[in-house]
């Protein structure tokens, strides 16, 4: 059948939800059911590091019900992701195994950047509304239970993303802990948010003009979907709406408030906290318009699935977002753009011509590209320990859209570009990387090193390089009139590692340009 039924499950910090979709090439994605169960896992996970017995019971019970529902819809496939509450529990592996054995549902844990990327994807798939809003300076504020994520757009490309531990559940927890009266909540939230937002503004926002905010969350979005500017502009609102809510929150009872805003009474405090925080962020940025596309992680999961299975495609180039992010990081650490470009060109040329021997795909090509962009970011801290510093910077910087594993691969490739390569038996001692990742690191490192060697003088002499694979040799043809004695001389050491990895010997051939 052309129509596939797919279930997306989000094991969130305060909600367990499942969406059932019909996915088809003709009609795209159609949501047919959305089941939500409130379950506060975040509070336990953030404070004690573990989920209690009762919580796990509840989780399993609901997941079993979800399974029945999936069965009833004759679902073809499903993906279940756990987010921060699962991620931050200390015994994640045990927990997930337990759940899988009891419910048959396999849950994978999303890293923060993967999770945000899925949210982002689901926004981008909104099409027109999205394309239009990002024409002006736009920030995505993704409010989760444990943290928030602010991502900035420049024109239509995502350029930076930052995570702050200001999740709504975490804030609520902190406010409860402070035992403050409700009347003081807004000042306290302002203070908590400000301390981080000021730093953010100074370092990342600078003088970017942000007009619009796209908000992804469970509370403000619910409110905005109901109380929009008007029917045509569903999900859009200005600051006035927030002011009104804030005022009513201080003067009316929760029950009445819930009625007036048509939201569950128990959601009011978190709505309020999210709203005060978002208002603060708006003020810091000077934004005027808010848009809540009303997407959830489940949508993102489904888009990812549909994209992976080539059922639908988006007009937005997500890979370009990832590259732009990396370029921005490089810029922040004063990386040389020119050199990166040369390196990128050489490395990708080699990658493309050696497909047969490395067997890597499109995604690994992207990782290589990122490695070239970020190859020298560590020198901002120390030129002597360039490798280690680069590694640390990459590991500590979020690149939206990359999984934790992918980021680690990039960091390692950059590191071993400068340092002596450590074999798996050695590397594995300090890392949780699996063998597959290790092999990718080795292969990409070999290419990057070789490319680096070709541009040793940093003078971009090897700009026009051609490579071809002939028997056991990789012929690198350089089209330059310049003297490449240095490169040729130092080439040997670099080539040795390449040869070790691929069992192919790189050879340089200089082709002098006529009349040059």
């Amino acid at each position: 059948m052309a129509v596939k039924t797919f279930a997306a499950i989000d094991v969130g910090s305060y909600e367990l939800s499942m969406k059932i979709f019909e996915v088809s090439r003709n009609k795209g994605m159609k949501e047919i059911d959305h089941i939500r169960h409130e379950i506060d896992m975040g509070t336990e996970s953030y404070t004690t590091g573990k989920l209690s017995y009762e919580r796990v019971e509840e989780l399993c019970r609901i997941l079993c019900e979800f399974k029945d529902i999936m069965k009833a819809y004759q679902t073809d496939d499903y993906v279940a992701y756990g987010t921060s509450a699962v991620r931050e529990s200390e015994n994640t592996a045990i927990l997930l195994n337990q759940i899988e054995i009891r419910t048959g549902i396999h849950i994978e844990v999303l890293s923060n950047s993967e999770q945000r990327f899925l949210d982002y994807k689901s926004i981008a798939f909104q099409g027109e509304g999205f394309d239009k809003i990002i024409e002006n300076g736009t920030a995505i504020v993704d409010i989760g239970g444990g943290s928030i994520q602010i991502s900035l757009f420049d024109k239509d490309t995502l350029v930076s993303t930052q995570n702050m531990k200001l999740g709504v559940l975490r804030l609520q927890e902190r406010l409860n802990h402070l035992d403050a009266s409700v009347g003081r909540y807004d000042t306290l939230i302002d203070e908590l948010v400000d301390s981080q937002m000021m730093v953010y503004k100074k370092l990342y926002l600078k003088d970017r003009e942000i007009k619009n905010i796209i908000v992804v969350d469970d509370y403000i979005s619910a409110m905005l979907r109901k109380k929009s500017i008007n029917q045509e502009m569903k999900g859009y609102a200005g600051k006035e709406l927030f002011d009104r809510f804030e005022k009513e929150y201080h003067t009316k009872g929760l029950l009445e408030l819930a009625k007036r805003w048509d939201m569950p009474e128990e959601n009011m405090p978190r709505t309020y906290i999210s709203l005060v925080m978002l208002k603060r962020i708006m003020e810091t940025m000077g934004a005027e318009l808010i848009w809540a596309p009303g997407v959830t992680l489940c949508d993102g999961i489904a888009y990812e699935y549909a994209e992976k299975n080539k059922i639908i495609t988006s007009s937005h180039d997500f890979e370009q977002d990832i590259i732009a992010c990396a370029q921005n990081i490089s810029k922040r650490y004063r990386g040389s753009k020119k050199r990166s470009e040369t390196l990128e060109q050489i490395a990708l040329t080699i990658f493309d011509s050696t497909r047969k021997i490395h067997g890597l795909g499109k995604r690994e090509r992207l990782l290589l590209q990122l490695s070239t962009i970020l190859h020298d970011c560590g020198k901002y801290i120390s030129m002597a320990t360039l490798g280690e510093c680069s590694y640390s910077i990459i590991m500590a910087t979020e690149i939206i859209g990359l999984s934790h594993r992918e980021r680690e691969i990039v960091a390692n490739v950059v590191k071993y570009n400068h340092l002596e390569f450590e074999y798996y038996e050695e590397m594995g001692r300090y890392s949780t990387l699996d063998q597959d990742s290790y092999l990718i690191i080795a292969k990409l490192t070999a290419i990057l090193r070789l490319s680096n060697g070709l541009d040793r003088s940093h003078k971009q002499k090897f700009k026009n390089v051609k490579t071809s694979l002939k028997d056991d040799k990789l012929i690198i043809t350089v089209d330059t009139n310049e003297d490449i004695t240095l490169e040729k001389g130092l080439f040997g050491a670099r080539a040795a590692f390449f040869q070790e990895v691929y069992n192919v010997r790189p050879v340089i051939r200089q082709k002098r340009m006529i009349g040059g």
Binding site: K27, I35, K71, A72
Partner: protein
């Protein structure tokens, strides 16, 4: 402030008093000479059983309030004590009217039509007497349990609602001290005993208690019977507090639980002319006040008339004008219901149109290989319900079947538990109601996997999924596969299964969370239109209207010039003819052959009219303490059908009563209006539509029928 204007309790009628007026309208059908004689018996019986239920539920509850010292005034500003006082007057009046109808109108008519009711056993002829005595010996005596009271035997427990014969007895050869004795008229035997007659004579019947009275001496052989009279009591025992009552009352009563007098007698019916000494004994033992004693000029407990209705041989005295439920033109027998629904929404009007398609909807779903799931809410179902059977079959066929069974449905609990268990055994997922809420909504969802994806079929109704009452109650139902209603229906069942509310609704409005606000919004929108000089018009048909916020909104809208036409069968706390409103609000009540039950709402909305149907009345319990659903009807033809139902009822001149400014109800002044009986018209139209396949004939060319069947 302006909007406080109509908040005054003086502008509202007490709901209990309004209810008594409703029962009087039922009684007036028994009085109506236009009705066939046996139908009149039925109406009298209904008015009597209605009153019994009213005592057990409403009066009992008021008594509880008084006992608990609860003094909060009602919508009309009356304290429970004041309400009881007023009720006492009007219920006494109602009862004497019932017996006036029975004695003066019905008995002579029955005799004229060949049925003699032998009122007193003393009136039996010798031959008849011999027959009843033999009947007594053989059938009655073995099941009687006479009980005497003396110093060693305490006063026996008189069962709630049972009919008893009390007697004063004196020991034979004793010193003349009077003792109390009593015997229950067995409920296992029919109340009406037919007495054989000579050929050519009219049929004759006598009531069981008369036969017992005649033979009571045989029960107390060692005593002389001084006198004997029937009596009947009603207690406020074993009734939980109604959902109608405010929460603070529940708390109050809980707190004062010890003070509550369980099993307290709240009403005593005795035969007129009962011996004073006998009455005093009963009164004292039951500690019942004079105001709660009803002296009855005729047989106690008139519900036996329903049995009399069933006596064979009087078919010519019953209603025959109303046709049986007809086939729905869009849904001919054996059709593929899903296919028909895909052609467009279908509105069903019961009992004029048959309920069978609704049963078939579930039956076909149970068998259909493409159906994935069936979900349904059940409130009251008939015994041996075909719907239950179909659901069970569906589960056995591997469909996912979820059923919400409301166990709190009044008087039906035990019945419901039995088949709920049965469904569970068949593999259905059964939800036994929601904590603190009655699920009164009527909704069925069938999820079907079709070529281009999942399609949802939904039935929404105003009446229960009960094939038996669907022949007697007027209701409407909608069959649709509209995606937006389907989405909402899925969300409804998710909520009923305990999951969070959906992020938003497309079409449906649900109580207790959203419905009331929705109604208020719709009413206020008419008000705003009227204030801006545009037409404001509301037509609403409900069973009861007693929600203060709704009434106040209606008053305010009417005061701004909105024309409000209300068709309210039962309780109506709204008054007509108020200052500043005048004739802008009219209220009529239709009490006819079928029990009016559908709730239909029309809002003019400045030229973009909106039509809704709902499971809810305009009562606080519906809007605040129940799960109810209101659904829009959007297809133009179906809107026309609804508008037709409303206008015909507004034009009714036979069964309609108009609420007058003084609070009384009067039959419509027929002058210049012709005779229109809406229910009868609907019947005839349904017959016609079934024959012509739904086409209205307004052409001048005759179409000869080519087949005779």
């Amino acid at each position: 402030m302006d909007n406080l204007k109509y908040a005054d309790p003086g502008f509202y009628t007490n709901r209990e008093l309004s209810w008594v007026l409703f029962d009087k309208r039922v009684l007036s059908e028994a009085q109506d000479k236009q009705n066939p004689l046996f139908e009149r018996l039925k109406f009298l019986s209904i008015s009597a059983s209605n009153l019994d239920e009213f005592f057990m539920v409403r009066v009992a509850s008021l008594k509880d309030m008084v006992n608990a010292g609860y003094e909060k005034p009602d919508i009309a500003g009356m304290t429970p004590k004041e309400q009881l006082k007023e009720l006492n007057i009007v219920t006494h009046e109602l009862v004497s009217q019932q017996y006036a109808v029975y004695n003066r109108a019905l008995l002579p008519q029955l005799l004229q039509n060949g049925l003699k009711v032998i009122e007193k056993h003393e009136d039996l002829t010798e031959k008849e007497a011999a027959y009843v005595d033999k009947f007594y010996e053989e059938n009655v005596y073995p099941v009687l349990t006479p009980m005497a009271v003396d110093s060693s035997r305490p006063f026996p427990l008189i069962r709630n609602k049972s009919l008893n014969i009390g007697a004063l007895v004196k020991k034979k050869g004793g010193e003349g001290e009077l003792e109390f004795a009593t015997v229950q008229v067995p409920s296992v035997l029919p109340r009406i005993v037919q007495v054989p007659v000579e050929a050519g004579e009219e049929k004759a019947v006598i009531l069981l208690e008369e036969i017992i009275e005649r033979n009571i001496q045989k029960l107390f052989l060692n005593y002389d019977i001084v006198c004997s009279y029937p009596f009947r009591i009603m207690r406020n025992a074993d009734f939980s507090i109604e959902e109608d009552e405010a929460e603070d009352l529940l708390k109050e009563i809980e707190r004062q639980l010890k003070k509550r007098q369980w099993g307290q007698a709240i009403r005593l019916e005795v035969e007129e002319g009962i011996d004073k000494r006998l009455l005093n004994i009963i009164k004292e033992e039951l500690s019942i006040g004079d105001e709660d004693i009803y002296r009855i000029g005729g047989p106690l407990d008139l519900t036996f008339l329903m049995k009399m209705y069933g006596l064979p041989g009087f078919e010519h005295l019953k209603e025959k004008g109303y046709a049986a439920p007809q086939q729905v033109p869009e849904l001919p027998g054996d059709c593929d219901i899903f296919e028909q629904i895909r052609k467009g929404d279908i509105l069903l009007h019961h009992p004029y149109e048959t309920f069978t398609p609704v049963v078939d909807f579930i039956r076909q779903a149970a068998r259909d290989k493409d159906v994935l799931a069936i979900k349904q809410t059940l409130y009251r179902v008939s015994g041996n319900s075909p719907i239950i059977a179909a659901l069970a079959q569906a589960a056995e066929n591997g469909k996912q079947v979820s059923v919400l069974v409301e166990l709190k449905a009044r008087f039906d609990e035990e019945n419901n538990i039995v088949w709920a268990k049965m469904l569970e055994k068949a593999g259905c997922h059964v939800i036994y109601g929601l904590v603190g809420l009655k699920t009164h909504s009527k909704i069925t969802l069938v999820v079907r996997r079709e070529e281009d994806g999942i399609r949802r079929y939904v039935h929404l109704g105003t009446g229960n999924y009960n094939d038996a009452t669907a022949k007697l109650y007027t209701d409407v139902g909608l069959l649709t596969c509209s995606p937006s209603i389907g989405e909402d229906a899925t969300a409804v069942f998710n909520m009923l299964s305990g999951y969070s509310e959906p992020l938003s609704w497309n079409k449906l409005s649900l109580a207790p969370l959203w419905l009331k606000d929705r109604f208020l919004h719709l009413i206020n929108r008419e008000k705003k239109n009227a204030m801006a000089g545009r037409e404001g018009h509301i037509i609403a048909k409900v069973n009861s209207l007693c929600d203060k916020n709704i009434i106040e909104a209606l008053y305010e809208a009417a005061a701004e010039g909105v024309k409000i036409e209300l068709i309210v069968r039962g309780i109506c706390c709204l008054k007509t003819g108020l200052p500043g409103i005048g004739n802008n609000i009219t209220v009529r009540s239709i009490v006819g052959n079928f029990l009016e039950h559908c709730r239909i709402f029309y809002f003019a909305n400045d030229g973009k009219p909106e039509y809704y149907c709902a499971s809810a009345d305009w009562m606080p319990r519906n809007l605040e303490r129940r799960v109810e659903i209101m659904f829009p009807v959007e297809k133009p033809e179906l809107r026309e059908k609804l508008m037709h139902i409303l206008t015909m009822q507004l034009k009714d001149t036979v069964k309609a009563h108009i609420l007058m400014p003084d609070g009384s109800y009067e039959k419509v002044d027929r002058r210049g209006k012709g005779i229109i009986n809406a229910q009868l018209e609907f019947c005839n139209e349904a017959v016609h539509a079934a024959k012509t396949g739904g086409e209205v004939i307004n052409h001048r060319v005759f179409i000869p029928e080519m087949h005779h069947d």
